[in-house]
Amino acid sequence: MLTDRHREQLLGYTMIAPVAIFLAALVAYPFLSAIYLSLTEKIVGYPAHFVGLRNYANLLDSGRFRIVAWNSAVFTVASIAVKLVIGMAMALALHQVVRGNQFIRGILLLPWIIPTVVIALTWKWLLDLFRGLVNVTLIDVGVVKSGVHWLGDPSLAMLSVVMANIWRGFPFFGVSFLAALQTVPQELYDAADVDGAGSWQKFWRITLPSIKSVVAVVTLLSTIVTLNDFNIVFIMTRGGPGAATHIFATYSYELGIMSQRWGVAMAASMASLPLVALLIVGVVRYLHREEE
C-alpha cells in the first residue's frame, strides 16, 4: 500500500515527466551531440571521425571568425547601450507625465509584438538607396545631395542593423523599467525634496539603485538574445557587405546550412557558449534571489 507521501512523489514524477522527456530529447540531446560533433570531422559518405579541438583551433585561426566575433560584440554592445538609454528615457517620461497611461504604453510596445521579419523587411525598405523613406527625406530636407548607401557601405550597414534591432527592442526595456519605477515608494522622493535634492541627484541616488535588479536582469536577458540574433541581420544584409555585419548565428548558418560543414558549424554554434553560460548563471542567480 502506498503512503500519501509516496503517492505525492509518484504524481509529481508523472506530471513532470512530459517536460523532462521533452527537454531531454529536444534540448539536452541535440546540445550534447552538438558538442560531440564539434569534436569530429564529418564528410558526406564517410563516418565522422574524432579530431579533438581541431575545429575550434581552425575557427580561432580563421580571419573570418575573428571578424564575426568582433561584429557580434559590436552589434550587441551598441544595441544594448542605446536600448538602455532610450528605454530609461521612455520609462521616466511615461512614469512622470502620464502615470498609468495604458494607451501610449500599448502603442509603444508594438515593435516588440510584431514579427521580427516584418521589422527587418520594413527597415530594409526604409533604408532603400533610391526610394527608401530615409534617403528621400534626407534629400528633400537638403541634408545630403544623393542617397546614402545604408546597407551597401560596410560601416553604415552595421549601424543600420543596430538601428533596426534597437527599434525592435527598446520598448521592452522601457516597459520593464516603468513597471519597476512604479514600485519605488514615493516617500523616498518626498524625503529627498525636503533635503533639497535636484532631479539628477534623485535619479542617481534613489531611482537607479531602487530598480537596479530589474535593469540587470533585462540587460542580461537581452545580451543573451542579441549575441545570438539571426533574423534582423539575415534579412537586412545576409551578413554583408563582405562580412561587415556577419555575426555568430549567420556564420553558423553559412557553415552548416550553406556549406554543410557540420563539425565546424557545431564548433561555431558553440563559440558563444562560454559567454552565454556566464550570462545565464547571472540571470538565474538574480531570479532565484527574487523568488526567496
Partner: protein, 273 residues
C-alpha cells in the same frame, strides 16, 4: 508649465515618432501602386490610393497558404506547450519529490538558451530521426522554447494561489488531480490565458527554425514566405508591405487582449526581450 514637464513631453513625443514612422511606412507603401513606388511619386502618402497589393496577395501569391501554415503551427505548438507546461509547473510548485529543485533550475536554464545557438544542433537531431520538412517538425521544435517559458510563467501564478484552498478540497475528499482541475486551474485561468497568448505570438513570429527545417514550398510559414519576397535586393515593396501588415494583424489582435497581463509577466521576469 515647468521646464521639466516640458522636457518629458518632448522626450515622449520623440519616442512616439520613432515608433510611429516605420509603421506608417508599412501602411503607406501597402496602399501605393507599383508605378508610384517605382517612380518615387508622392512618397509620403498613397496617391493614387489602391488596394491592388492586398488583392494580389490572395489572388496571385501563396499568402493564404502561408497564413494557414502559420495558424496551424502556432495553434498546435501552443496547445502542446500549455498541456505539458501546466502539468510540469504544478508538479514543481505544489508536489514534493526528490530532485524537484534541480528540475526547476533546469527548466529556467533551458528557457534561456537562445535559438541562435540551438538551430544547427536541433536540425541535426531532426535529420537523424528522419523528421524534417513537415509542419509537425515545427510543432515539435517550438515547444523547445515554449515549454520552459510556460512552466516558468505558470510556476509564478501557481505560487500566488493560496495552498489552503487546495488543502480544503483535499480534506473534503477530492484527489490531487480533482483539486488541480476544479480549484487551482480556474484560479490560474488568467495565467493560462497569458501563457497561451504569449506562446501563440512567439510561434507566429518565429523565423529561424521555420527557415531551416522546412524546404517544401507548400509548407512554409508566413515569416519565411515574406522573407522570400525579396529577391537579390529587389522586391515588390507594395505587395510585401501589404503582406507585412496582414502578417502583423493577428499578433496585434492577440496583443490587445494580452496587454493587461503583459506588465505582470514582465515584472515576474518571465519574459525576455
Amino acid at each position: 508649465m515647468r521646464l521639466a514637464t516640458l522636457v518629458r513631453w518632448a522626450v515622449l513625443a520623440l519616442i512616439l515618432a520613432i515608433v510611429f514612422v516605420p509603421m506608417y511606412w508599412i501602411v503607406v507603401t501597402s496602399f501605393k501602386t507599383g508605378r508610384q513606388i517605382l517612380l518615387s511619386q508622392n512618397v509620403y502618402a498613397p496617391e493614387p490610393f489602391t488596394i491592388e497589393n492586398y488583392l494580389y496577395l490572395f489572388e496571385e501569391s501563396r499568402f493564404a497558404l502561408w497564413f494557414r501554415n502559420s495558424a496551424i503551427t502556432a495553434t498546435a505548438s501552443t496547445l502542446l506547450s500549455l498541456l505539458i507546461g501546466t502539468a510540469g509547473a504544478y508538479a514543481l510548485t505544489r508536489l514534493r519529490f526528490p530532485g524537484r529543485r534541480t528540475l526547476g533550475a533546469v527548466v529556467l536554464v533551458t528557457y534561456l538558451v537562445p535559438p541562435g545557438l540551438m538551430f544547427i544542433p536541433l536540425y541535426q537531431t531532426f535529420i537523424k530521426i528522419g523528421y524534417t520538412d513537415s509542419l509537425g517538425t515545427l510543432i515539435l521544435a517550438y515547444p523547445t522554447f515554449l515549454v520552459p517559458f510556460v512552466t516558468w510563467l505558470l510556476m509564478g501564478f501557481f505560487r500566488s494561489i493560496p495552498r489552503q484552498l487546495e488543502e480544503a478540497a483535499l480534506v473534503d475528499g477530492a484527489t490531487r488531480v480533482q483539486a488541480l482541475v476544479h480549484v487551482v486551474l480556474p484560479l490560474a485561468a488568467p495565467g493560462l490565458l497569458a501563457a497561451g497568448l504569449f506562446c501563440f505570438t512567439l510561434s507566429w513570429n518565429e523565423f529561424l527554425y521555420a527557415l531551416i527545417f522546412i524546404a517544401d514550398d507548400s509548407l512554409k510559414t508566413l515569416p519565411v514566405g515574406l522573407s522570400e519576397f525579396v529577391v537579390s535586393d529587389f522586391a515588390f515593396w507594395g505587395q510585401l508591405m501589404a503582406a507585412a501588415a496582414l502578417a502583423s494583424l493577428p499578433v496585434i489582435v492577440v496583443y490587445i487582449y494580452l496587454h493587461k497581463y503583459m506588465v505582470q509577466g514582465l515584472t515576474a521576469g518571465a519574459v525576455k526581450g
